[in-house]
């Protein structure tokens, strides 16, 4: 089989590791993590462009290395070859290896911010797509000096109190170790971040199983949706998360 993977770079290390030992020939295109921040309709547009750009005759299927990402995948259409999508709300499922495990962990742990290699080295302070992000378009991502410059000192102090700290509601940082880290530096970085904020730190063992089955074409219907040519992705508000329907 020849497969084309279109993946978020948040799983860059995981995918590279799995592709090196994949059973099939998998070509990959990574898209910027910045799609996370541009809102569902812009995210969908860029993903659709990537899907439409695949030289269909070359491949047997297109794989998406994404979760639903807040409706970012809803409405995507495949025209010529099947599109395979993990049933996942977001990448945290991809890291934990099953939507059930994510649901269970989520239910008993509130106030958690997740970190992985990708979330540590590809999520912040990157300029990609920045001018399109919700944070910069809405003005909520402005720095303190920018606020002072635009609104004056007194207003800036008030605004900084309101929007300066995105993570004020959090209590815990959970580092998911995927087994693709060469050494302890990612864990140390995550621990340091938790320490700085006085959050509880927890390390979880990740599970590459779901992503491995994605790239190895083991697409059981419980965990994967196969969208046939001429169909689109729709949302289901139950455990199946997504489904396929005729595109028009």
């Amino acid at each position: 089989m020849r497969l084309k993977l279109i993946s978020c770079e948040i799983v860059f290390r995981e995918m590279c590791h799995l592709l090196a030992e994949a059973e099939h020939r998998v070509d990959v295109e990574f898209l910027p993590k910045g799609l996370h921040d541009i809102g569902a309709s812009s995210m969908r547009k860029r993903l659709q462009q990537a899907i439409d750009g695949v030289e269909a005759p070359e491949y047997d299927a297109i794989l998406l290395g994404y979760g639903l990402c807040g409706m970012g995948l809803a409405g995507l259409v495949t025209r010529h070859i099947p599109l395979v999508v993990p049933r996942a709300h977001d990448c945290i499922t991809l890291f934990l290896g099953s939507k059930q495990r994510y649901a269970d962990y989520f239910a008993d742990h509130s106030g958690v911010y997740f970190r992985t290699t990708g979330w540590l080295e590809r999520a912040e302070n990157m300029n990609q797509l920045q001018q399109f992000s919700i944070q910069s378009k809405s003005g909520m991502g402005m720095s303190y000096p920018e606020l002072v410059e635009k609104y004056g000192q007194e207003n800036a102090d008030y605004l900084w109190e309101q929007i300066g700290d995105f993570v004020r509601n959090y209590r815990q940082l959970t580092f998911i170790e995927m087994g693709v880290e060469q050494n302890g530096r990612f864990e140390q970085q995550a621990r340091a971040e938790a320490g700085e904020r006085d959050w509880k730190f927890e390390k979880l063992r990740g599970d590459l199983g779901l992503l491995r089955r994605l790239v190895n074409a083991q697409w059981d219907p419980e965990d994967f949706l196969v969208v046939k040519p001429g169909e689109k992705i729709v949302v289901r508000y139950d455990d199946s998360i997504i489904a396929a329907e005729p595109a028009s």
Binding site: G39, A40, L68, G70, M71, H89, D90, Y102, A103, F106, A107, S110, G111, K137, S138, G139, M140, M142, L147, K150, Y151, N155, Y158, L159, Q162, I163, N169, Y170, V235, Y237, I241
Partner: protein
């Protein structure tokens, strides 16, 4: 005599100092407090909402306008209460359990407050039980639920179920919103309304206040 148009301008421009100063002056000159609210402040906040909706205003402008509005409301509210005037409606708002995204919810709360509603904000990660308690404690007319994760959208349904089992469902209108929420989902879980942004949320709440003729 205070130039009341200045109050409108002060709220619109997010100038808390002037808003408070003009309000003080007006009240000292015996201007009817209700007139200040309905003729100047609410229209100013409506304009703020409109500008936000068409992306002329952004989050900071909206927050500053809401602060200006609040500053002058603090002076006016005791007078309104003393004269027995009721707020437009009482709102309890929060982000549902498990979800910590609160920026959109805060904006909706601020604009509702600016629109003359009395708003109790329960914060983020709010359990169904806390919503019920707050509805009882504040005699709320509306409950506004926000969710930004598809993972936590079902928690909105749980809230509605808990409202039913606690016998308070008929007392309140349930409004839902947040980026992944849709009108279709709102209908499916039996909410009373959905709005896609903060300014639309104010219009929605107002329209639900008018009893169907």
């Amino acid at each position: 005599m205070a130039d009341l148009q200045q109050l409108y301008e002060a709220v619109l421009n997010g100038d808390a100092k002037s808003a408070v100063a003009v309000t003080k002056e007006a009240l000292a000159g015996n201007v009817d407090p209700m007139t200040l609210v309905t003729k100047f402040m609410v229209p100013a906040m409506d304009e703020v909402g409109r500008r936000f909706e068409c992306e002329e205003y952004f989050v900071p402008e909206l927050l500053l306008a809401a602060r200006a509005m609040k500053g002058s409301l603090e002076l006016i509210r005791p007078l309104l209460t003393a004269s027995g005037a009721e707020p437009t409606g009482r709102v309890v708002i929060g982000t549902v359990k498990g979800d910590l995204h609160d920026i959109g919810k805060n904006l909706v709360g601020s604009l509702l407050e600016g629109g003359g509603f009395e708003v109790t904000d329960l914060g983020a990660d709010v359990s169904p039980e806390r919503f019920v308690e707050a509805i009882r404690a504040h005699n709320a007319d509306f409950i506004c639920l926000s969710a930004l994760l598809t993972v936590t959208m079902p928690a909105m349904k749980n809230v509605i179920e808990t409202l039913k089992s606690s016998g308070v469902r008929d007392q309140v209108k349930v409004l839902v919103g947040g980026a992944p929420v849709t009108r279709e989902y709102a209908a499916q879980i039996g909410a009373d309304g959905y709005a896609e942004n903060a300014s639309a949320a104010v219009h929605l709440a107002r329209s639900l206040l008018q009893p169907a003729a």
